[in-house]
């Protein structure tokens, strides 16, 4: 019965929450996820603020609830191609990209990956770690199936031979499936601003200048370094670390004039984490406004200062220079409170980049006929009164697809549940 089916596009925490609330209510949910596994950005994080919960630990149970739920059908490694119809009766064509592995047979044992000769950088680890041509992005991936990355695969067939479950099928073809749903929820999340657009910070040229998402992977137990924070250039433990805020955010030159709302908070969290790992490390946060807003965060910043000795410098640095020999970084900045121009040497610099619309979000908006705002995020039909409705009736949006209107994870979760309410409101009335 179409009236009781909903399609959720995007398997991040917002999409998962929306799917769970809808499924628990009796709706049939089709959860479309472009990458091989649901989990989204939250799966890449190490810990979350302010409670310091391990991100995967609070996410994995929800991912498994979602995929095991009898009302949820997860369409991973798939993309929405076209949408026809109106609220209450949409017809959506979904392209099931070939993963060259039969999901039902594969147990995710990983034997094929052991024998695969091709090793390429792993997008999940922000290119810091590597994966094979046949891979699973991270251990807790859901669905638990390998995927073959055909443009790096050399068709040697070793995986086919080694797989006892006979799950590898290198001839798999893409196929399009049609789904009839009453409503659509968009939860396509965000991508990260390319920090190399600010040449004076040297991201992409200096090895030890990393983004905060790369830092999360370095700190994460399932990350490329097993949770040990080391310098990408020589693997040493960093002694002097600098966090630089507002890289791309609050910047008119790139059209990302908004504040991404979470960078101040997660950098204090990362600073405290680093201090817990290695108390002797000096951690400095360069900020313009320390935006630790909302309950519990100012106390968190005070503790970071007094208990952990994190140094906060009110300044946005002008430039970073690399010493070619030691690959250490000299940051030129003005401590605007002391009114002094200073430069300090650091062995690791973490840039906190702006969050921008995810690749493909603009095209999806065109396919759905939904308007986007001047930053490229989905436009809420009314910022104040209907914040999770798109401009198309029957299509809703939650999570960072709404852009900076979404703050951190609790906002994504609340918006996920809110879309479930909106769907129930329009589908209850029509049935």
């Amino acid at each position: 019965m179409t009236g009781k089916a909903v399609m959720v596009i995007g398997g991040g925490i917002a999409g998962i929450q929306s799917s769970l609330d809808l499924a628990n209510r009796g709706y049939q949910v089709y959860l479309v996820e472009r990458s091989p596994s649901i989990g989204g950005r939250m799966a890449q994080l190490d810990k979350t603020f302010p409670t310091m919960d391990c991100s995967m630990c609070i996410l994995a149970p929800k991912m498994i609830d979602c995929s095991h739920h009898h009302n949820v059908k997860t369409l991973s490694y798939s993309e929405v191609k076209s949408v026809k119809g109106t609220a209450g009766n949409f017809v959506v064509t979904v392209l099931r990209k070939p993963r060259f592995v039969d999901e039902t047979k594969c147990t995710g044992c990983g034997v094929c990956a052991e024998h695969c000769p091709v090793e390429v950088p792993n997008e999940f680890d922000e290119q810091l770690g590597t994966r094979k041509a046949i891979y699973m992005p991270f251990p807790q991936a859901v669905p638990r199936a390998m995927t073959v990355d055909k443009n790096n695969c050399i068709e040697c067939g070793l995986c086919l031979k080694m797989c006892q479950a006979g799950a590898v099928d290198l001839k798999q073809q893409p196929r399009e499936e049609e789904y009839n749903v009453g409503a659509i929820v968009v939860a396509t999340g965000f991508d990260v601003f390319d920090a190399s657009q600010i040449p004076t910070y040297g991201y992409g040229r200096y090895k030890n200048v990393v983004t905060s998402l790369e830092l999360e992977r370095l700190l994460c137990a399932s990350g490329p370094t097993g949770g040990h924070l080391i310098r990408p250039s020589d693997g040493k433990i960093p002694r002097q670390i600098a966090f630089i805020q507002c890289v791309g955010s609050r910047d008119r030159r790139f059209g990302t004039t908004y504040c991404s709302s979470i960078c101040c908070k997660y950098s204090v969290k990362d600073a405290v984490l680093i201090k817990e790992h290695e108390p002797s490390t000096a951690v400095n946060i360069f900020y313009i406004d320390m935006r630790a807003f909302g309950r519990g965060f100012q106390e968190f910043v005070n503790r970071a200062k007094s208990e952990y000795g994190v140094r906060f410098v009110r300044s946005s640095p002008g430039e970073i220079l690399e010493d070619p020999a030691s690959k250490n970084l000299r940051i030129w900045y003005e401590d605007t409170v002391a009114g002094r121009i200073e430069n300090g040497e650091f062995d690791l610099v973490v840039l906190c980049p702006a969050l921008i619309p995810s690749k493909g979000a603009r095209e999806l908006a065109k396919v759905l006929g939904a308007e986007i705002d001047n930053y490229g995020f989905f436009k809420a039909s009314d910022i104040l009164t209907s914040p999770v409705d798109t401009t198309v009736p029957g299509i809703f949006v939650c999570g960072y697809a709404l852009g900076p209107k979404t703050g951190d994870i609790p906002d994504s979760i609340m918006q996920g549940s809110a879309t479930a309410a909106r769907v129930a409101e329009i589908l209850e009335r029509s049935v």
Partner: protein, 162 residues
């Protein structure tokens, strides 16, 4: 205790090239790159913008604060808010000149321009060298035009004042 002028920021904002003052968020990216600011604490473009916002007109216009700037535009390229610090410095200098604060060097160049259409003129030996090289004389045919323009823009008063 310094006396604050309420609408000094507005005055700078309305002066040509001065609009950037309204966008400044005091982040400090401009000052850390400024070659002069690294050499002396007297000059700090960010602090100067802050003083303009506060309205410290008497601490800026009659002093040498506006005249430390090289107009090398390093600050302008780094400003994330389109604050155009380099341009605002020109606006502040225009106001300083209106207030009678003009360094001798600048006044000299302005006077030379009014009298010879050039801010820098060759000494006699250099002139003779040019003629001997057959490069011809430096022509001043545009002088009447230059003086008419300076009359129209009112800059003539400033040049003729001293």
């Amino acid at each position: 205790m310094s006396e604050l002028d309420l609408n000094f920021m507005g005055e700078v904002a309305d002066t040509p090239r001065g609009n950037g003052i309204l966008l400044c968020i005091q982040c400090g990216r401009c000052s850390s790159g400024c070659p002069v600011a690294r050499l002396t604490n007297e000059h700090n473009p960010r602090r100067l913008m802050e003083m303009v916002i506060l309205g410290l007109k008497k601490e800026i216009l009659p002093t040498e604060l506006p005249w430390y700037c090289l107009s090398c535009f390093t600050c302008l390229d780094r400003c994330p808010q389109g604050g155009d610090v380099g341009d605002v410095m020109f606006a502040i200098r225009n106001l300083a000149v209106k207030n009678g604060n003009i360094p001798a060097g600048v006044f000299g160049q302005a006077k030379a321009l009014y009298e010879t259409t050039r801010v820098i003129n060759p000494v006699r030996s250099a002139l003779e060298k040019r003629e001997s090289m057959g490069l011809g004389k430096l022509d001043n045919e545009g002088l009447t035009d230059v003086q008419k323009i300076l009359k129209k823009t009112g800059m003539e008063k400033i040049v003729a004042s001293k």
